[in-house]
C-alpha cells in the first residue's frame, strides 16, 4: 500500500459520486478538445505559414487583381529570393455545389515556393511544368473523387469562362501529391496559369496574388516597404504582408472564433469547477473523523493536504484523459464529413499539453478548499463531532 492507493480508495469509496464527477469533467475536457481542434484547424493557415514567406495582394482587397508584370518587377527587388503567383479559379466539379479549390499557378516557381508544405516529387514537378493542360491534385481531393494519375477531368469555374463560351476546362492529372506538414491540407489542385490565361475570356494578364520567399525573415520589413513603395500611387497599389499575418487576418474575418471557443470552454469549466469543488468539500467534510484518525496516527497536516489534493488531481486526470480520448475520437469521426469546411481537424500535441495543464489546474483548484479544511482540522474537535 502507498499514498496513491489511499487516494484511489478514498476517491472511489462512493462509486456513483466519483463516476458522476468524472463524467462532468470528461465532458468539459471533450468540449475543450473538440473546440480547440476546431480552432487550430481554422488557424491551420497560420501554422503552415513560414517566416520568410510574404504575400503580395492588391491594396484595395485581396480579391482585386494585379498585373502580371509585377512578377518580374518583384523578382528584381533586393532581398527577394524567389517569387511566384497564383490566380483563384473558383472551381467546381460537375455541379456548382461541388466546390473545389483550384488555383492557376505559375508552374515552375509555385512548386518551389510551396515545396515545404507539399511533397512534390521531381517527376510530378517535371510533368506539371511540361504539360500545359496538366494538373497536380492533392491526395485528399483525389481520394474524394476517386481520381487517378492520367485521368482527364473537366473542371468548371464559377467565375471565368473560356473564349468559346464554356465554363469548363479539361485537365489531365499528372501527379497526386501528399503534404509535408501535418497542418497542411491537400484538398486542392493546381493548374497551369499560362494555359488558363490564354484561354479565358476576360481578365487576361492579371493575377490574383504573389507569394515570395525572402533571403531571410530579417529582411521581411525592408522587402515589404520596398515593394509597397514601388507601386504606390500606381493604379494597382499593393499590400504586402507575411504569410502568417495574411492568413491570420483572413481567419479573423470569419468572426472571433477564439472568443467563442474561450467563452464556451470557460462556461464548461466554471460548471465543473463548481460541481466538483462543492462535491469535494462535502466529501471531505463527511470524512472529518477519518482525517482526525489519520492525524492521530501521526499523519502530518501537510501529508493530509497532499492526500486530498491527490484525490482531486486524480479525479481531474481521469476525467480529463477520458475526455481528451473522446475528443480525439470525435475529431476523427468528424474529420471526413467536415473536410471541406474545416480541413485538417485533428488533436495536436499542443492541445493535449494544454489539456494536461488544465487538468492540473482543475485538480488543484477543486482540491484547494477541502485540502485546506483537512489541513487545518483539529483532532480533538473533529473527534468530538463524530
Amino acid at each position: 500500500m502507498n499514498d496513491f492507493l489511499l487516494v484511489r480508495k478514498n476517491l472511489f469509496r462512493k462509486k456513483l459520486r466519483a463516476i458522476l464527477m468524472i463524467v462532468s469533467i470528461l465532458i468539459a475536457f471533450a468540449i475543450f478538445g473538440v473546440l480547440a481542434a476546431f480552432e487550430r484547424a481554422f488557424n491551420a493557415g497560420e501554422d503552415v505559414s513560414e517566416a520568410d514567406r510574404l504575400v503580395v495582394v492588391n491594396k484595395i482587397n485581396f480579391t482585386q487583381p494585379l498585373p502580371i508584370a509585377y512578377f518580374n518587377r518583384i523578382a528584381a527587388v533586393e532581398g527577394v529570393r524567389q517569387v511566384t503567383f497564383a490566380n483563384w479559379f473558383g472551381g467546381y466539379y460537375q455541379d456548382p455545389k461541388n466546390f473545389v479549390i483550384v488555383m492557376a499557378v505559375e508552374p515552375e516557381t509555385y512548386l518551389k515556393v510551396t515545396g515545404t508544405d507539399f511533397a512534390f516529387t521531381p517527376e510530378m514537378t517535371q510533368a506539371f511544368v511540361r504539360n500545359r493542360t496538366g494538373t497536380l491534385v492533392g491526395r485528399a481531393l483525389a481520394e474524394k473523387w476517386g481520381w487517378k494519375v492520367g485521368d482527364r477531368i473537366p473542371i468548371s469555374s464559377s467565375i471565368f469562362s473560356q473564349k468559346n463560351g464554356t465554363h469548363t476546362w479539361d485537365v489531365t492529372i499528372v501527379g497526386i501529391f501528399d503534404k509535408n506538414k501535418p497542418q497542411a491540407d491537400t484538398n486542392l489542385m493546381f493548374i497551369q496559369y499560362p494555359y488558363f490565361d490564354e484561354t479565358r475570356s476576360f481578365g487576361k494578364d492579371t493575377i490574383g496574388w504573389l507569394v515570395l520567399k525572402t533571403a531571410s525573415s530579417a529582411v521581411n520589413d525592408q522587402v515589404i516597404k520596398t515593394i509597397d513603395q514601388m507601386f504606390a500611387n500606381s493604379s494597382w497599389e499593393t499590400a504586402t504582408d507575411t504569410e502568417k499575418a495574411f492568413n491570420k487576418a483572413f481567419v479573423a474575418q470569419l468572426g472571433n472564433i477564439a472568443l467563442i471557443v474561450t467563452l464556451v470552454v470557460g462556461a464548461a469549466f466554471v460548471t465543473i469547477l463548481m460541481i466538483v469543488g462543492n462535491t469535494m468539500v462535502m466529501a471531505i467534510r463527511e470524512r472529518t473523523r477519518e482525517i482526525a484518525v489519520l492525524k492521530t496516527l501521526g499523519f502530518s497536516g501537510a501529508r493530509v493536504l497532499r492526500l486530498v489534493l491527490g484525490e482531486t488531481l486524480l479525479l481531474a486526470v481521469i476525467g480529463g484523459t477520458l475526455g481528451l480520448g473522446l475528443a480525439t475520437l470525435a475529431t476523427l469521426l468528424m474529420r471526413q464529413s467536415l473536410s471541406m469546411f474545416v480541413p485538417g481537424l485533428r488533436m495536436s500535441p499542443e492541445i493535449v499539453l494544454t489539456a494536461v495543464g488544465f487538468m492540473i489546474l482543475l485538480g488543484l483548484a477543486t482540491g484547494l478548499v477541502p485540502a485546506l479544511n483537512a489541513f487545518r482540522l483539529k483532532i480533538v474537535e473533529a473527534m468530538g463531532r463524530g
Binding site: L20, V23, S24, S161, W236, A252, V270, I275
Partner: protein, 392 residues
Amino acid sequence: MLKQIVAVTAINLKSIPRRFWLSLSTVVAVALVVMVLLSFLAMSAGFRRTLASSGAADVAIVLRAGARAELNSVIARDQVRLLEDAPGVARDAQGKPLASAELYLVVDGIKKTTGTKANLPLRGIGESGAAIRKGIRLTEGRMFAPGSNEVVVGKSLLREFQGFELGRTVKFGTALWTVVGVFEADGSVFESEIWADLPVVQSLFNRPNTFQILRARLSGPDGLAAMKAFNDGDPRLKLDVKSEQDYFSEQSSQTSDLIQKLGWPLAIAMAFGAMAGALNTMYSSVASRSVEIATLRAIGFGGFPAFVGTLVESLLLAGIGGVIGAVATWLIFDGFSASTLGASFTQVVFSFRLTPALIGQGVALALIVGLIGGLLPAIRAARMPIVQGLQG
C-alpha cells in the same frame, strides 16, 4: 395524498439552504448550459433574419450560370440590354425598366472591435438600384450624385467598421470617395454594403463595361416565370434567374444551419455535465434527508411523496438555472451586433435575436436536465428502507 406530497415537498425545499453551495452549483451549471445554447441559437436566428429580410419575392436576380454568389458572377453588356427588356420586368411611370445592372466588388475596411481588416462589399448600382429594393431609406445625408465619387453606406456597416461617418473621405486604391449618406434597409444585408454610382465604379476600378448581376423588379406574380422562360429561350443568355428571396435563403441556410449544428451538440454535451452535477446534488439531498424521510415513513407517510418532493426540488433548481440562463443571455446577447463572412465573401453584419420560442427551448432543456437529474435520486428516496434511514 396531496397533503402528504405538499408537506414532504415543503420539508425538502426548506432543507435546500443546508446544501446551499451544492444546490447553487447545480443552478449555475444549468444556467451556463442554457446560456451556451441560447447564444448560439440567437446568433443563428439573427443571421437568418438578416438574410431573410434581404430577399424580396418580387425582385429577380440574374447571375452567370453556376456562379452561386454575386461576387463570382460576370454578365456581358449585351446580356444586360436583353434582360432589361425581358418580359416580366416591371417598368416605371416613364416606361423605363425597373432594372439595375450592378458591379459587386470587395474592398478592405477595418473592423472596429478587433482592428483587423475585413472584406466589405462596394456595390455599383444603376439608376433605379435603390428604387427596386424595398425599404431603403436614407437616415442621414442624401443619395450619391450620378457621375461623382460619392458613396452611401448602410447603417450596420457604419456601426461595425471604421471611418464611414457622414462626410468622411474613404480611399479605395488611388481613388477618394466621399460618404454623403447613410441608409437603412429593414435590417437586411444591404445595410452592410457601400453603394456608389455604377459607371464611376466601373471606371475607377478598371472594369469598363463589366457587370456582375442584374436585379429587376418583377411586374407581377408570374413575372419571374416569364423572365425565366425568356432567358432559357435565348441562346445568348442561359443565365441563372431566381427570385432574390430564394437567392438569400440559400445563403442563409448554410451559415445559420452551421451555427445551430454547433450550438445544439455543445449544449447537449454540457447538459450531460450539468446532469451529472444535478444527480450528485440530488443524491446528496436524499442522503442528507434520510433520517427525515425515514421518520416520516415510520409515522405512516407513503413513498410517493418522498419521490415527488425530491423531483420537485430537482426541477425547481434546474428551472431557476434555466430562467437565470435565459435572462442572462437576453441581457448580454440580445441585439448584440456581430459580423461574419457571408457567401459573397464579404462581411454580413447581423444582430443576435433571442425570440420567445428560443427561450422556450432553453428552459425546456433546463427542465429535462432537472427531470433526469432528479428521477433516480427520487426513486432512491421512495425506496429507502425505513430502518436503515432511521439509523442515519
